[in-house]
């Protein structure tokens, strides 16, 4: 395993599969009456959040606590980008306190990479979302969710997502989730199609390992998973699309569109869902929609990442591991 987790693009297939397999072991812990492992006892992890994200922070915190780590939450809301000194200062403070890992969320793309490579701090750095760049643990939990649903909980062990077709729909331009998913899903052997109005597709997307389509309907029939991205309403004012209604008509997922998907296909969303424009209540509440599972899987996956980056090479839960590698 690598020392830091900054980008989903940095994961090899073996790394990614190992994380997903480890997450399956962690999921079994969640089924026990006492949902706690001693693996990171005595280790201190700091959740360094320069940008609000209660969901992601709570997910990491739950993962850390289930591994018996000591947790420091540090919220440095909005202080950084204007002056630029606080990231370095904060890093050095944490270093002085002897933290064993830093989970960082930052509004500026590249901030976790800077933190990991600038010599400001020695501890492993885990990117919990940076600007419009990457959100690798989100991609891992999405892949985990897909593998469970499309391959099978036990059948998936040791496997990737070879041949699965995943469609990612919405504001790709501003989405770190889309970037991370394209990288990871490609590594795991899936075929990814991005669907968005041309204004929300980044210039330079040609180099990404995926297809791009402007037409949602034509992609639905051949999708094993459709991942809806959050579209922020303020994008409308910046002329990315004419009206909410037009967006919804062309790129929203409603019951009729869902009916075009193969029977086994699932609907995903990184949350929080805003029902209406990008996804209707009918779809959001359907059996096929994995939003709640994604939340639960987020904890398992983050436990796996923390364990592998900090805990070392031993299997986390020895008795559940079937193979002997």
């Amino acid at each position: 395993m690598m020392r830091h987790l900054i980008s989903a693009a940095d994961l090899t297939r073996d790394d990614a599969v190992l994380i997903l397999d480890t997450a399956e072991e962690m999921a079994r812990v969640a089924d026990r009456p006492i949902k706690k492992l001693p693996a990171l006892r005595g280790r201190t992890i700091c959740n360094l959040f320069f940008e609000d994200s209660t969901r992601t922070r709570i997910s990491f915190e739950a993962a850390e606590k289930r591994l018996s780590a000591d947790v420091i939450n540090f919220a440095a809301k909005g202080s950084s980008v204007s002056k630029g000194e606080s990231l370095k200062d904060t890093a050095q403070t944490l270093e002085a306190m002897g933290v064993d890992a830093v989970v960082i969320r930052h509004g500026a793309s590249g901030a976790p990479y800077r933190l990991a490579t600038s010599g400001w701090i020695d501890a492993p750095v885990i990117n919990a979302g940076d600007g419009t760049h990457q959100h690798p643990t989100q991609a891992l939990l999405d892949a985990f969710t897909m593998r469970r649903r499309l391959v099978g909980r036990d059948a998936g062990i040791g496997k990737g997502l070879d041949g699965k077709r995943v469609t990612i729909v919405g504001d790709v331009l501003h989405s770190r989730v889309a970037r991370s998913n394209v990288d990871l899903l490609h590594t795991l052997g899936a075929e990814v199609t991005l669907v968005a109005p041309p204004t929300l597709v980044p210039v330079g997307v040609e180099s990404w390992p995926c297809e791009v389509s402007y037409d949602l309907d034509s992609t639905l029939t051949k999708s094993d998973a459709v991942m809806m991205l959050r579209v922020q309403r303020e994008r409308m004012n910046a002329a990315f699309f004419p009206t909410e209604r037009e967006y919804s008509r062309r790129y929203g997922l409603d019951g009729d569109r869902m009916a075009k998907m193969p029977d086994h296909a699932i609907v995903m969303h990184p949350g929080p869902m805003v029902r209406g424009m990008e996804i209707t209540a009918e779809v959001a509440d359907s059996e096929r929609c994995t939003v709640i599972e994604q939340v639960a899987n987020g904890v398992h996956t983050r436990m796996a990442v923390l364990y592998l980056l900090l805990g070392g090479n031993e299997p986390a839960v020895t008795h559940t591991r079937t193979e002997g590698n």
Binding site: A9, S80, V81, S82, K83, G84, E85, L87, K88, H106, G107, A108, S109, G110, A111, Y113, R114, L115, T117, S118, D130, G131, T132, H133, Q134, R176, R179, P202, V203, G204, V205, E206, S207, W208
Partner: protein, 429 residues
């Protein structure tokens, strides 16, 4: 008044000759000049002798950001890099938009003694793009401003730009445009393309530069004025300037050393040392810029020397200041990208880094031929030198160079300003 004999110097890279400096002027150029009555002999030993370099685009930061650079430290950096004249950009605090501020900068330059400092005046009050600054008063001031620029910001209003171009015709001035369409570059952090898409950094599209250049050359044609385009960075910009020149439009253009060498691939490091405006572009752009400088479509090299203190760069990319220092490495980068690639000879370097910038900026006594009777503004270059760049040795107050540890060819050993050495054996006088 002292006499200096420079012995065995390749003038503009030609056959070795001797050059006799008498006081502030060149007294004689030829073979086997006598050392009799000479105060000092400098053995050039095959080094290259060029007219002192002229930088049409320098940020000296004084007044207002003396923690980054002062006129004194900036001109010391200039002398170290072989420059005898620099044009100081107007985006200081306060902005150089009145006769008072430009005269202050001019006076500080005189006092420094390392380099002639010609202040550039702002085009609009406070660089705000709304209202013309007192262009005429700045021209008539002791500073005698000839170049006007809102650099750092684009004069984006077409009417203001038109009026500025028209107005400076009265006294032979030139407007130097930082071509950046502001709406197309909101939130821009780097070149828009495959690397920005991957890194999730806001894109600064080539068309934001090209569309302003296209507009401005047409405005210059319409009003019959001359326009200078700062720091071209894209292949498309080159095409537009080439077209404008072929049409007879009075346009000149500059390129920075870093745009001749570095590409946006380097931004993958998220190291803000590579954060600059306009941003580093692609390999294709770099090659087009080199070709254009070679064939004269781009007239000059200008450094866009932009000093920033360490803390403004030692942070995350988005928070970092834009710009890099350039005075002390410019000639080495040009040697590597233009001379060693066979695109320019040393006479061509002298033309692009001294003669033409002096002409565009009307810098009196600079960019002159290395011949008898001319002012002794000269630079001696050891082109055979090879070594890694060590910013610890910079004379600039700031160290934000992208070349730290990189091996670049050549180094300036001597600089003379009107016969007085400002740099001798690599040491500032």
């Amino acid at each position: 008044m002292s006499k200096i004999l420079i012995r065995g110097a390749k003038v503009l890279g030609g056959e070795p000759q001797d050059v006799l400096i008498d006081g502030a002027v060149i007294a004689e150029v030829g073979g086997g000049l006598s050392a009799e009555g000479v105060d000092e002999v400098v053995e050039a030993d095959g080094k290259i002798l060029l007219p002192g370099l002229v930088d049409l685009h320098t940020h000296l930061r004084e007044p207002g950001r003396e923690d980054s650079e002062t006129v004194l430290t900036g001109t010391r950096a200039a002398a170290s890099g072989g420059y005898t004249s620099v044009f100081a950009m107007a985006n200081t605090f306060p902005v150089a938009d009145t006769a008072g501020v430009v005269e202050q900068v001019y006076r500080l330059g005189k006092e420094s003694g390392y380099c002639d400092v010609q202040p550039i005046g702002a085009v609009t009050v406070g660089l705000e793009g709304q209202k013309l600054a007192e262009l005429g008063a700045m021209h008539e001031s002791a500073a005698g401003v000839t170049v006007f620029s809102d650099d750092g910001k684009c004069v984006h209003d077409a009417v203001i730009m038109r009026r500025a171009l028209e107005y400076v015709k009265a006294f032979g001035g030139v407007v130097a445009q930082h071509a950046q369409e502001p709406r197309l570059t909101e939130g821009a952090q780097m070149n828009e393309g495959t690397v920005s898409a991957e890194l999730g950094l806001g894109g600064w599209p080539a068309v934001a530069e090209e569309s302003i250049i296209a507009r401005d050359v047409l405005l210059a044609e319409h009003v019959g004025s001359r326009v200078h385009i700062c720091h071209l960075s894209t292949a498309g910009s080159v095409e537009i300037v080439r077209w404008a020149k072929s049409r007879g439009i009075d346009v000149t253009a500059e390129v920075t050393p870093h745009h001749l060498l570095l590409t946006d691939e380097l931004v993958r490091s998220y190291n803000p040392v590579y954060k600059v405006n306009p941003p580093l572009r692609t390999e294709k752009d770099v090659m087009a810029l080199r070709e254009a400088l070679a064939d004269g479509t781009i007239d000059i090299v200008a450094t866009d020397h932009a000093p920033h203190p360490h803390e403004d760069k030692d942070c995350e990319w988005a928070a970092a200041a834009m710009g890099m220092v350039g005075l002390e490495t410019a000639l080495s980068v040009v040697q590597q990208t233009m001379v060693e690639t066979g695109l320019l000879d040393w006479a061509g370097v002298a033309d692009r880094m001294s003669v033409k910038p002096a002409e565009i900026g009307r810098a009196q006594g600079h960019g002159r031929p290395v011949s008898a009777g001319e002012p002794a503004n000269l630079v001696l270059v050891d082109a055979d030198y090879r070594g890694a760049v060590d910013p610890a040795g910079f004379a600039s107050r700031s160290r934000n160079t992208p070349y730290e540890g990189r091996e670049l060819p050549g180094r300036v050993t001597h600089t003379w300003l009107r016969g007085k050495a400002t740099l001798a054996d690599g040491k500032l006088a």
